[in-house]
């Protein structure tokens, strides 16, 4: 196997070198929109790829069984895993998107920041212990622990896969456009490069490679953001009062930039958005999967704790310094805006422009490379979550009824990785220049409405039954997707109808309530034999959660 991996890697390096040269040739005199070929960014990024491929090669040599493949053999420490979880959460959309949102809306963005952190807090408190002790590789392990395996696994494998693919498409489309802008690489080449690299990381190195790619990226991101924040703060002589004074003078909203504004007027819409952000973050399969890469519960607590601190730190810097600072700094550079007064490259480019004007070309190259690395690490994490949903949940448990050998399971997950990679590349290219903002809403709504009620009730409520879980889960899934389609983002903006059938852009509050309500009602009405068994095993579940699976095995 190692030989194959090596061959793929060599092949890829020659390919990517080729495309870089191609891009360099292309960028001479190409449209003004592109920044042209960025040699510093490219060298840092090629270095990043080289390091991660060496790690992948090393990880491939150490990946022998399913435990190695899905959960890095449980050999990641709490601190490392904390970095990796924070890395999963801090996608390019978070770093660039949040900075851009503060640039435009000011204080209103605090809601996103806080909701993300509260989501992690609840993940640690409610799910870390039961999931870590009940599960082995995926979130379905814990959910199907006392319910009937096949239907539950089929359902949660399916929702995990949907979430992963939608999330991947968002990342691919954003990445293609961004890399086109930063590196002067054609859109398709950028999407194919990212897709190919993520397939190599995941199929060869499994969770071990994916985790280390994520860790390296997280460290780079923390470093980059810290430098950017210090440089920005230096611009204002390290004085908040001076900085915010100038912000109020520069921004067209004036002093109101610091108070809740237009984005936060409708209380119900605001609560619904918060619900999506908090409970959506908890239900993400690629984040939950990371609970299994550490040796025990204590380490998984530690990893969520570390990750929350990293995320809190990064958000504070982005929100209070970089975001507000960019309002003043970028407005001092009229060359960054086009004729109609819009920022070149859109609000996603705020952080990147800022790095250039405040710390020069080398740092700009560094930040660009970090953005590329960020995208790469996040898509790799998503891909392994998707591949394990296919191989571990759907193939091994549902199709083969648990009779698949480890080798077979790993082979299936490698094939799944390839297929998911191909789908992501295909859809990424198909959706170029499409408005896909609704996909993000949908991902979080599905995660909060189809996954979260199931996760919570399966470990905290005695009464849940298999039938209730599956029917309620499907209702959550259908209502979250349906409400987004009928809501203002798709029904009005994309399909061009007069007014939305469902009035809220963020339906999570409603679809999640439907998910919970249906699970509870159907479970209460369920009188089947299976339901009796589901309820009776609740106490045994807790014995396993608190004393670990070992006790039960010993007793038997």
């Amino acid at each position: 196997m190692n030989k194959t991996v090596l061959r793929i890697i060599t092949l890829f390096i020659s390919c990517s070198a080729g495309s870089v040269v191609l891009a360099a040739g292309n960028s001479n005199g190409i449209s003004v929109q592109q920044e042209g070929f960025n040699i510093i960014a490219a060298s840092i990024f090629v270095f990043f790829i080289a390091v991660t491929l060496v790690i992948t090669w090393w990880a491939a040599r150490n990946t022998h069984n399913t435990k190695d493949f899905y959960s890095a053999g449980g050999r990641i420490t709490g601190f490392q895993n904390g970095l990796a979880i924070a890395g999963d959460f801090m996608s390019a959309a978070t770093f660039l998107g949040v900075t851009g949102l503060v640039f435009v809306y000011g204080f209103d963005v605090a809601l996103y920041v806080l909701a993300g952190i509260v989501g992690f807090c609840l993940l640690l408190i409610l799910l870390a212990e039961p999931f870590r002790n009940l599960g082995t590789f995926t979130l379905s392990d814990a959910v199907s622990y006392r319910l009937s395996r096949k239907p539950i696994r089929a359902f949660s494998g399916f929702t995990s896969l949907i979430i992963v693919i939608m999330y991947l498409v968002i990342q691919m489309v954003g990445a293609g456009a961004l890399i086109q802008l930063l590196f002067g690489l054609p859109y398709e080449a950028a999407v194919v490069t990212i897709g190919t690299l993520m397939v190599i990381y995941v199929s060869a190195g499994g969770m071990m490679a994916t985790t280390w790619v994520q860790i390296i990226k997280a460290v780079l991101l923390l470093l980059g953001i810290t430098i950017l924040a210090v440089a920005t703060f230096y611009h204002f002589n390290f004085s908040f009062s001076q900085m915010y004074q100038q912000v109020a003078e520069t921004h067209h909203l004036g002093i109101d930039i610091f108070t809740p504004g237009a984005q936060l007027t409708d209380p119900l819409a605001m609560i619904s958005l918060s619900v999506a952000l908090i409970f959506g973050a908890i239900g993400m399969p690629h984040v939950l999967m990371r609970l299994f890469t550490v040796p025990d519960v204590r380490e998984s607590y530690r990893s969520v704790l570390y990750s929350t601190c990293f995320i809190g730190y990064v958000f504070c810097l982005i929100f209070f310094i970089i975001g507000f600072g960019s309002i003043v700094v970028l407005n001092q550079h009229p060359e960054l805006f086009d004729a109609s007064g819009r920022l070149i490259g859109g609000s996603n480019m705020v952080a990147v422009h800022l790095s250039k004007v405040i710390a020069g070309d080398i740092f700009y190259g560094f930040i660009s490379a970090i953005v590329f690395a960020t995208i790469l690490a996040v898509v790799a994490g998503l891909t392994i979550a998707g591949a394990s949903a296919v191989s571990h949940d759907i193939y091994a448990s549902v199709i083969r009824s648990g009779r698949a050998s480890e080798r077979e399971e790993i082979r299936v997950s490698r094939i799944a990785t390839l297929v998911i990679g191909a789908i992501a590349i295909g859809l990424g290219i198909a959706f170029e220049r499409q408005n896909i903002a609704y996909l993000m809403t949908m991902v979080f709504a599905v995660s909060a409405s189809a996954n979260f009620p199931l996760l919570l009730l399966s470990v905290y409520w005695r009464g849940i039954t298999t039938r209730g879980a599956v029917i309620g889960g499907f209702c959550g899934l259908i209502s979250s997707v349906g409400f987004v389609i009928l809501g203002p983002t798709i029904w009005v903006e994309i399909l061009g109808n007069e007014s939305a059938i469902f009035p809220y852009a963020f339906p999570a509050l409603f679809s999640m309530s439907i998910g919970f309500a249906v699970i509870i009602i159907v479970s209460l009405l369920d009188n089947s034999e299976r339901a009796k068994k589901d309820r009776e095993t609740f106490d045994a579940l807790y014995l396993d959660i608190y004393l670990g699976k070992a006790v039960k095995e010993l007793a038997e």
Partner: protein
């Protein structure tokens, strides 16, 4: 840790009581986090004027900004406290109950 009669333990009313007691900590802490966050959100939504108090010599730093930082810090502290309490908890109740049951069986 080994106990001969798992079924006896599972059916004992005292075991259910222990589980309920153990569930209390996560439920309490998650309610606290949710309460803090949605309390902030609701104040912003319904009474934005309440938090518009100004700080600093120029009056640009509003109470909102300070509260958001405090909230982030508070949630990190909450998590830390939870993990500390959880570590102290250390499954003692179940071990104790198993000990009691074992003694009862011997008698």
């Amino acid at each position: 840790m080994h106990y001969e009669n798992i079924h006896q333990l599972l059916e004992d009313e005292r075991f259910r009581k222990v589980i309920r007691k153990k569930q209390r900590l996560p439920l309490l802490f998650s309610l606290a986090a949710i309460f803090l966050f949605f309390g902030f959100v609701l104040v912003i939504a319904f009474a934005p004027g309440l938090l518009a108090v100004e700080f600093g010599e120029d009056g640009v730093i509003k109470l909102y900004l300070i509260l958001s930082v405090l909230l982030i810090i508070l949630i990190c502290v909450l998590m830390n406290l939870f993990v500390t309490l959880k570590a102290r908890d250390n499954h003692d109740d179940i071990h104790e109950l198993i000990g009691i049951l074992r003694e009862e069986n011997e008698r």
